[in-house]
Point group: C2
Chain length 396, copies 2
């Protein structure tokens, strides 16, 4: 793990979650004022933290991000917004920063108010545990987990033209809305390089479009989805330019992709991790809509769970996506086996293809349209009985 | 059952399905030339029968509809289209009509060619069984079934201003794309009243929008979805006008609604039949998009299967539907219990609401937006482990 300089982390148990074995409150502190960018859910019923963070980013001079799991603070009206603001105020005061220097993320059950006494005590406790090492980073990643089975982290390091070494690290949580209660996708990526405010926002938005916006579990956009980028310049205070910026953007993209793919890969009940390549479309938007429709389709996903090489469901999903195409140019491969070409079924040994799906957790779908040069890659899950069991489970 | 005059029916076993206990080929014959209207799938990968029927309707002078189950004749290219045309030609010749007087519908497995020798023999056999009674009508309805657990039929009768009595009857099959292989929604509604060609098409389109287009199982639009309307004027040869037409349109709407609701109600693995009312929207299109998003949402559906009054998933689905609304005006009731009002969670006894969901197969969701007067009603299913088990099952 390459940890950027000038950051400290902590993850503690505050008491919001029922199980004291699980962490539920994290801090990330930047010892230098950091530029921050944010990309948020498009859900109209957006959570209190999104209300609070959205107008603050992009911006500079940030010092602290406070996160809790176990309670999403969604659908909690004005009181929820006041609570989110108080989380920031408390965290900032505790680490010796001003209230406007903080950001906040929450995830967990919807429609319940934060237990602010526990949150306050948790923040004070987390402050005592702050450290810049890998163990602390992992604790912080654990503190944002809900139904995740493991903390999700990634990092890269690169050397700038001036010889300075900068690092990028990130953590995320979530398996989309796959949790037994409302879950959320949260990600926090931070670097000791420096970026201009506008540059940070542009980079984050473009990268999210290629990574976090290309993963689907069941297609439910949570009210609190948030991706934050912090850049504090601790290793090189001048904003990146030219080839340094390009190399940084590539490494940043890799970190975000690692984190994004970790989400469907850890989806509850998931038995296959599916990569969907849509190729040869007129434009990227058309490719994205087709990929999105296939990735959401319950019948496609159920067939993959059952190792059923049911190519008909995949081409049919493309067919109802709303995108026009020439059927006689459509081709499809599944795990490398060509099942459909020029709009015509190809002879294949269904047992062999099925065995390949049964024997590999990773499944590859490539669907081609011969309409142009635009491609997209999506990542998704299968749909298992276990998924339904987990999400149908009624807990009082 | 009110059966329109001048029609005869048959359903037989042709050998396309493996199980000889199941019927797989049906004929509907009109002894008088009938006006026909059709509404078809919007799926780009549309099946051969849709290719053949679409240019024929709306039109007049139809005598026969031939239907088979067990093979959808989808994704079968030019040969599939030739086979569909031959089905019509054979059926027309067998009953003594011309080839242009026929229509065809197929449902079943995708990507396989029709076994035309069996289809031809089946048509001849069906012709021998043609009869105008209820038993024959039910046999025809059985012949179009795939994974349906029972034939789906409905009828109405009304008296015109001139004292003549006309009837409307219909049959349909399908549980959307819920079958272990590709399934399809097919419906055939016929009357002994008479309609103008344009009037028939307008009525059918408007009625489908309020009925068959308001049902969702998992949201997969099949390549062969077809709804046909036949009007032969056997009881009253003059096209309907004025209040007669209005009364007929209302009764026709009831028949279509009965048939449409029967589809999700018979969905495989379904444990709840869900009615979703979206009220107080700016326009019908907005209401439809919200209803559609809620009805497709895997998390909403899984929660209903588990009798979990998880209102957060429902309002969150509305939130990501893409429709703008004022969150502080949103309200939600589940089985008559008000759980959310003016954007704020209402206190409720979760065990009582859960018990109400567990104890009733019918679940009602009412979500209101206070933005206008437009409403829509949708019907859907829950999402059960059984659904996934059935649709993941790999048969060689």
């Amino acid at each position: 793990m390459f940890l950027p300089k000038g950051y400290r982390f902590a993850g503690v148990y505050s008491g919001v979650k029922a199980d004291p074995e699980k962490l539920d409150l994290s801090l990330l502190v930047s010892d230098h004022p950091a530029v921050a960018a944010g990309v948020y859910t498009t859900n109209r019923m957006c959570g209190a933290t999104v209300h609070v963070d959205r107008p603050r980013t992009p911006g500079s001079d940030f010092r602290v991000v406070v996160m809790n799991s176990g309670c999403a603070n969604d659908c909690t009206g004005d009181r929820g917004i006041r609570d989110a603001e108080e989380m920031i105020r408390t965290a900032a005061a505790t680490i010796g920063a001003r209230p406007e220097q903080g950001l906040v993320m929450s995830t967990g059950v919807i429609g319940e108010f934060l237990q602010m006494d526990k949150i306050r005590t948790g923040i004070v406790k987390a402050n005592e545990w702050l450290a810049g090492d890998e163990a602390a980073f992992e604790q912080a990643a654990r503190g944002m987990m809900t139904t995740d089975t493991h903390p999700k982290m990634s990092s890269r390091q690169l050397t700038l033209a001036n010889g300075k070494v900068v690092s990028i690290a990130g953590m995320c949580k979530g398996a989309a809305m796959i949790g037994p209660n409302m879950a959320t996708m949260l990600a926090l990526v931070f670097t000791d390089a420096m970026l201009e405010v506008k540059q940070a926002q542009t980079l984050l938005k473009a990268t999210v479009d290629e990574t976090f916006n290309c993963i689907i579990v069941e297609g439910h956009t949570s009210p609190s989805d948030t991706v934050l980028l912090l850049a504090n310049g601790a290793s090189c205070p001048e904003p990146l330019t030219g080839t340094d910026y390009d190399a940084f953007a590539a490494a940043f993209g890799e970190v975000c992709l690692d984190l994004a793919k970790a989400i469907p890969n850890d989806g509850e009940g998931v038995s296959h991790f599916v990569t969907i390549d849509v190729t040869g479309c007129k434009d990227r938007e058309a490719a994205k809509i087709i990929a999105d429709t296939i990735a959401r389709d319950a019948l496609v996903k159920a067939a993959i769970a059952g190792a059923d090489p049911n190519w008909g469901r995949i081409v049919s999903a493309a067919g109802y996506s709303g995108i026009g195409f020439d059927v006689t140019k459509v081709g499809l491969s599944l795990n490398g086996f060509e099942l459909f070409r020029d709009g015509t079924p190809q002879p294949f040994d269904a047992d062999v293809v099925s065995a390949s799906m049964r024997d590999h957790r990773d499944v590859s779908i490539v669907i081609s349209f011969g309409d142009g040069d635009a491609n997209i890659r999506y990542w998704t899950t299968d749909l298992t009985e276990e998924y339904v069991r987990l999400n149908a489970d009624y807990h009082t």
